[in-house]
Symmetry: C2
Subunit: 276 residues, 2 copies
């Protein structure tokens, strides 16, 4: 693991690190905020999965997350959204290939060799940060934005017992029925739709739900509202009687200005679960 | 005036606008956060002047300022740091020309036609926003970072009665004796150093000080510490018995992670003066 940068931030350290990833077969970069409490002992961990076109950096500099995490004594991991670089497949579209990993393990050419973001986020990166920083990997929570909200919800429901709480900002909720999903799952997972269900938050909510609290914020003025399919997840949550809150935030769009506005609520929500 | 974007943000509106500037003889772009209280009547205004290489956008997305401003019911203006575009003089160095206006009116070729940032910030932009938004221009305060901290301090002391309070993050404090200053003042203002004094915070502090409270934060690990000349302003403030606080923040560098960490303190500091 290589340290690319470290900046003092809200009493803790905002670092950026890179490492040779087995899962993705290429060097991967991630951000990690560690609060000052980590000097006294392992601290809980909150994951922030980013959306289309983002790297590890966007949320790290634009979401205003570190201040609230510092207040709660929680570390925050900011992974990249896909493998990158020469030799890694790509597409001209912004919503496929590099920057658009969709948190799945690709099985199809040309994506299969590197696009293994499910394994990377669920197995390799937790092992790496757990071994190298004072983090309490028994206390994890997860959130994300848009494609990263999809990732947070599907990882939380797909790995029972791993995360104590899950939240999302404007998540893609029902990708198997959206243009943000069908195109990518066809490319990464193939035409057989039975392989897609494990990566659809609405289907997972219908099938098994989440054993913990759920918080979702989506703006009423979200310019991608039709692609998100919020109504399907809302119906599934209500039908299951899932412990959860869905907030439709009046006038907010899909931007980081929206995310920053409600970040305090999300970090506090996770802190409550992590310190329960 | 043209609206380039508006995003709902902490209950208010983060806008980006452009306009044909008389002072700079070119179109200028600025950001403006207006809190929801502006719907009820004019709100106080806090200026944030940015540093070298920045546009109106950096602080707007990285400083975490809007949340605290919303809490206090204060608007925030994010001006650009220089004129830009074709036909505007420039230099290959990052610290001269476009992105490096130093908040002066240039008198020398090739800068004189467009580099009139003092007039732009002190006269034209206040008139424009005062006429177009629900802002109380009798209640203004100013802050900034690095070159923008220099701008905040020199405008505050150079325009007595205009600003109720001034603060700065890692400001350039004594540009007439620094490589961040001598080079630019020679280019913009000419070799006669008597024209420089009005743009040196340390000299202004010695000469007249500021009729209100001053707050300055600078990191002990600032990688540009030698260029800032903090010790000279510190000595001048102490000698004058200026109402003010200078905080040397242990371990912090020159980045926006440092700015974001102490932004709450600065907004609260200005709110106290603006609502006094």
């Amino acid at each position: 693991m290589k340290t690319l940068s470290q900046n003092r931030c809200f009493g803790g350290t905002q670092g950026v690190y890179s490492h040779a990833s087995d899962a993705c077969g290429v060097d991967m970069t991630f951000g990690l905020f560690v609060p000052e409490e980590a000097a006294l002992g392992p601290v809980p961990v909150l994951w922030f999965l980013s959306g289309l076109t983002c790297t590890h950096e966007n949320a790290m500099i634009k979401a205003g997350m570190q201040g609230w995490a510092a207040e709660q004594g929680i570390a925050v991991v900011f992974p990249d959204t896909s493998p990158r670089g020469e030799g890694v497949a790509n597409d001209d579209a912004f919503d496929l290939g590099q920057g658009a990993g969709f948190y799945v393990n690709a099985t199809q050419a040309p994506w299969a060799p590197h696009f293994r973001m499910w394994d990377y986020i669920s197995r390799e990166l937790p092992d790496l940060i757990g071994a190298n920083f004072a983090l309490d990997m028994d206390r994890q929570a997860i959130t994300g934005h848009s494609m990263g909200g999809h990732g947070a919800l599907t990882l939380a429901m797909g790995l029972p017992g791993r995360f104590r709480s899950v939240s999302a900002f404007a998540p893609i909720c029902h990708p198997t029925q959206s243009d943000w999903g069908r195109k990518q799952f066809t490319a990464y997972l193939g035409a057989d739709e039975s392989a897609w269900a494990a990566h659809d938050a609405t289907l997972l909510m219908k099938d098994k739900g989440f054993d913990g609290p759920v918080l979702i914020d989506t703006g009423t003025a979200d310019q991608f509202g039709d692609l998100l399919g919020t109504e399907h997840l809302a119906a599934a949550m209500a039908a299951r009687r899932q412990d959860g809150v869905l907030r439709l935030q009046k006038g907010y769009d899909h931007s980081y200005f929206f995310i920053a506005t409600f970040m305090e609520d999300h970090v506090d929500f996770h802190a409550q679960a992590l310190y329960a």
